[in-house]
Each structure stands twice: as structure tokens, then as C-alpha cells.
Symmetry: C2
Subunit: 339 residues, 2 copies
């Protein structure tokens, strides 16, 4: 039996990797949201000097990598791997954003679960002795996502009350074998979960069952109970999906009410920013983790966090072909210290 | 220093994972090609009973997973992870093909390098003690790829002499901690490499520099010389890219002429199948490895193979925005025995 695998879907680290530094760059709307104080940089407009939204998203990736290396006092040639991806077709935000870095690259696609996926694999690469320094990162961009997944922005389409607002932003975490903390102690890898939801304006409902399944499996595999964590935080379920996830957990005898939140609910002022159910996109959980959550852990306000990024694995083509929306969620268990 | 990392970009395994079984399912054209005897199943037509090419590609994934588990005498619940991806927007071939498997899933995007990427990460998960059984797999489909990347098939567009033919097929490798062999001893992970090629009808030229770079780095990192391998095989450079890769290696003092080939050159009868420069797509290297190469290793005809899958990391959007085509290549060193 694989010595670092416990239960059905969980890995426990022998040499828990540290998150030495994080970086986050967000768009102007995110820069007016509830977590505006926590980001490293707020870009002045959605193009940031580029001539397309896609190129602006690549610039977010490039500059966020540069920022996290600067904060971790490391240069490109000290990084063994970058793991990352994004929502754009063929992951061009990451591919073009990272092409000049000269760092070995593992491209990932887990939709909005990509931040937790990259941290899961990145942790294994460090704990297993394959690398000393790894950058895990993702991005998303409201305008490039709208153009690709929905309607031309110029149409000014009305949004459904259950819809979410794709975050413009990129977040990165620098994982190292140094014993600096915060530490990643467990990861629980999700399975694809399709409950038949087919409303592309309600991604939260499509992803909530995957989130609940991964959270339940994490507790079953580790023997931990919810009170072990100060916060269990999903990626981008939004208000609608968060409620469904809590209900599903309750039905399974787990009450997380007072220690549960969702990055999509946290990032905007949902009352006055007109983002309906909340934020979404790979950049949502990535920037909320790299900005707000990491800083709260470093301040000691959060000692143990279960970070559960959630992804909806459909495409416009699968929707046109009348497919439902599969979801996935990966959990990363982060500890301020190894006490 | 990370104990299993050698040189700049290479990992050496302490407990080399075995490739216990492989499976390959291909389309009708591939089933008339030079390697037709080596595949497990040839589908009767490009739809295979489905109502879209995309759904047929998902079925290729689903059935190839099923076949590799059957050949390895394992059930779904004995597999800790599937790692895979494909070329379709948001990787829907893998996401929909695997949604009923109930196996934890890491989605990857490395364009046509995905098979080697999945085997690289899969090997680390086994060698590191995170899993005992992992399936690494990819797919591509001529018709779904043409629709997405090029023109409607109904147009009957003329193809450039340098163009390649996307393979319809899915290939899978079942990696285990059992000591059955063939063994994966090293992996060399590629960097994104963009030499400014912007002709989307000449992917081989765009990917060749990445392939040459990874091969040169593999030899530099390991201290091995080309005569160590019976075969060094790239993924889908095609005839044009293969020639460029050989030239680049020659310019760097390495002559591979008599032990070098390319899966894209091998899979079709390029003289009479009208595939111009040869095969391409994630499914090209995946099915040639899972079919022909693995069987030749099991027969003892190939003792050591360096498998170097190659990917072009662009999208139609990046092409419309006048970007050049970045390439990447990952190398997996496979040994029939540990002598």
C-alpha cells in the first residue's frame, strides 16, 4: 500500500511543504471589493496596457509569477517547476504568460479547481523530493471569460440572479521544502461528480455536490472533525452553491455553519457590486487564498484552513450538445504551524 | 537539495514505477495505417454510435480506460488517480469520458505533450508513495480537432504540405508500484520554448526546438549518451519537424539519425494515406506508445526508449491575435528491465 496515501482519496505528507510566499494581482472591480486591502496590486483597467483581454490575462500571470518570486527572494532558475493553468481555450493565459520564464512547466486544467490542483501536485513534488521550490498559480479574467463562455460584452446581456462574476486576477503560491510554514499537511483529491445540473447560469449548484463530497471524504479519510479547522473555504460556489453545499453536508450529519465560507462570496461586496451570486473563475480562489487567507494565517488569525477549490468541467460545446455540468473539488489542508 | 532531482530538469526514481499494461483504441484511418496491428481496437467510423464527434472522443477515453483496467486486472476502486487531458476546449473529452469512473482525477493540459506529462507526474505519484496504481491517458479526434482548430470538414479545405493529420484515438498506460516492468527511470520536464514560428500549418517546426531542447537537457542532466537508448521517439513533429529536430541536435553535436523516430511519422502510411507531414494530436503519441512501442518493449525488441511527447501551446484565439506558437516537450525514459 502506498505509504503516504490514507483512506480513499487523501495524501498525508511526511515532509510537509511550506508556503513561503504568495502573490495576487486583481482587476479594478476586485480592487473595490471586500478584500481590496489584501491584494498586492490592483490593475488600473481590464486591458492593463495590452491590446486584448487575453494578452492582459497573460500579463497578469507573468507579473504575478514575478511578484511571488520577488516576495520569496528567489530567481527563476531556483524554481524547479511551475504548475498552473487557466480557463481560456488551450490555457493560453498560462502558456503565453509563462513562455519567457525558462522554468519547467506542468500545464493543468481543473477549471476553477486549478489552484487547489496545482497546490496538491506541487506539494507532492516537494514532499517526494522532486523539487525544493515550486510555484502553483492560476488566473482568470472577466472579459476574456465572458467572450469565450457567454456573450459579447457589447451586448450588455442581463444576468441571471444565480449567475456569478468571473474574477479578473491571478494568484500564486510559492511552495518550498524550507521549514517556514504555513504547511500543507494533507491533500484530498476530488472525483468528477455530475448530478445532472445543466443550467450554465447556475454553476454553484453544479459544483456544490463535488465540494460536499470532497469535504466529507477529507473528514472520513483523516478522521478529523470540522472543529479541527478555523475555516473551511470553498472556491467559487457563490451564495447559491454555498447554501446547497451546507445543506448537503448537513444531510450527512456535518454542521459547518459557523466555520464555512466561500471565496466567491467573500471577494466582492455582493450587496452593491451587482455580482449576483458572487465571484467565480480560477482567479477567484487563487487571489482570495494568495491575498486574504494567506495573510490571515500569517497574522495568526487563522491557524488551520481547509482550502477547497471547485471547478465546473463543461465547455460551450458540451452545453450546446445538451450535456449536464460535471463538477470537481480538490482540498488542501493548510496549517500555520506543525503543533 | 531535492534528493530525486538531478541536473536542471530531470528526476531519477528511487522506486521506478512499472507500466503494467497499456491500451489503445484508434479510428478507421489509423486502423489502416502502418501500425494497425498494434492497437487494441479500431472503431468502425468516426462517430462510433454517438451523435457528435466530441461525444465519440469521450467514448474513446471511457473505453480505453476500461480496456487498460481489464488488461491490468484491476477495477476502478483500485486506481488512486487518473491523470489526463485532451485538445478540446476545457478538456471535455477527458472530463465527460471519465465522469462516471468514481476515480480521483487530475486534469492536465499540455497539448500533444500530455501523454508524457501524465506519465511524468504519474510516475512521481507512485515513486513518492502517494499511489500504487495510476492511469495516465489522453485522446484526440480528427473531426473534433478540425472543427475546433481549423475549418468545417464540409468545406473540404486544401491542406498545406507541412500540415499534419490529427489522430483519432486514445491511449492509456497503467502505472503501478509492482515490480513488473517496463520501468520508468527518469523524466525530464520541458520548458515552454517559442522560436517565433507562427504558421499554424507547420506545427512540427514550432515544436521541434522544444523537443531538441528537452533531449539535449536529458543527456546533460543524466550524463547518458544517445547510444544508451535503442530508440528516441518524439510525439508528433511529423516529417518536417523531425528533420528540423535532427538538424538542431546535430548543430549541438548529437547525431541520433539511426535511433530516432517520430510517432507522427510512424502511425500512417504517409505515402498513400494523404496525411502530408504525418500524424499529430494527443492521441498520436499516446496510441503509438500504448500500441506499438509498448508491445515492442514487451517482446524485447526495444530495451530502452526515450519517449518525448511534444505540444504546441497555441489556440485559434492566440493565432487571431498574431501570436507565435510556443512549444513544449516532456521526456520519459523507459527501460524493459532494471539491469
Amino acid at each position: 500500500m502506498a505509504e503516504r496515501h490514507i483512506g480513499k482519496q487523501t495524501v498525508i505528507f511526511k515532509n510537509p511543504p511550506s508556503i513561503k510566499a504568495t502573490a495576487s494581482i486583481v482587476g479594478p472591480k476586485e480592487g473595490k471589493g471586500a478584500l481590496r486591502q489584501s491584494f498586492d496590486y490592483i490593475i488600473p483597467d481590464e486591458l492593463w496596457g495590452e491590446d486584448s483581454w487575453e494578452k492582459a490575462e497573460s500579463k497578469l500571470v507573468r507579473e504575478t509569477l514575478s511578484k511571488v518570486l520577488q516576495k520569496g527572494s528567489l530567481s527563476n532558475d531556483q524554481i524547479e517547476y511551475v504548475l498552473g493553468g487557466d480557463l481560456l481555450n488551450q490555457c493560453i493565459a498560462a502558456n503565453y504568460g509563462l513562455r519567457e520564464t525558462d522554468i519547467p512547466f506542468f500545464g493543468l486544467y481543473g477549471a476553477c479547481s486549478t489552484m487547489a490542483e496545482s497546490m496538491s501536485l506541487g506539494s507532492m513534488l516537494i514532499d517526494g523530493g522532486y523539487a525544493d521550490n515550486v510555484v502553483c498559480m492560476t488566473s482568470s479574467h472577466f472579459c476574456s471569460a465572458e467572450r469565450q463562455f457567454r456573450y459579447p460584452l457589447e451586448l450588455g446581456s442581463q444576468r441571471a440572479p444565480t449567475s456569478q462574476w468571473t474574477v479578473t486576477g491571478s494568484g500564486a503560491a510559492l511552495l518550498t521544502s524550507d521549514q517556514t510554514g504555513p504547511y500543507i499537511r494533507y491533500v484530498t483529491t476530488g472525483k468528477i461528480n455530475d448530478m445532472g445540473i445543466s443550467d450554465v447560469n447556475n454553476m454553484g449548484a453544479a459544483m456544490a455536490p463535488a465540494a460536499a463530497d470532497t469535504i466529507l471524504t477529507h473528514f472520513a479519510d483523516t478522521g478529523l472533525t470540522p472543529d479541527y479547522y478555523d475555516l473551511i473555504v470553498t472556491g467559487d460556489l457563490g451564495k447559491v452553491g454555498k447554501k446547497i453545499c451546507l445543506d448537503l453536508l448537513n444531510m450527512n450529519g456535518i454542521d459547518l455553519e459557523n466555520r464555512f465560507n466561500d471565496c466567491g462570496v467573500m471577494i466582492f461586496n455582493t450587496k452593491d457590486q451587482d455580482t449576483h451570486s458572487g465571484g467565480s473563475g480560477c482567479g477567484c480562489s487563487a487571489t482570495v487564498f494568495a491575498g486574504h487567507l494567506y495573510k490571515e494565517m500569517m497574522k495568526g488569525n487563522l491557524k488551520r484552513v481547509l482550502f477547497v477549490a471547485t471547478g465546473a468541467l463543461m465547455s460551450p460545446i458540451s452545453t450546446q450538445q445538451k450535456e449536464s455540468i460535471p463538477g470537481i473539488a480538490h482540498a488542501v489542508s493548510i496549517h500555520r504551524s506543525l503543533d
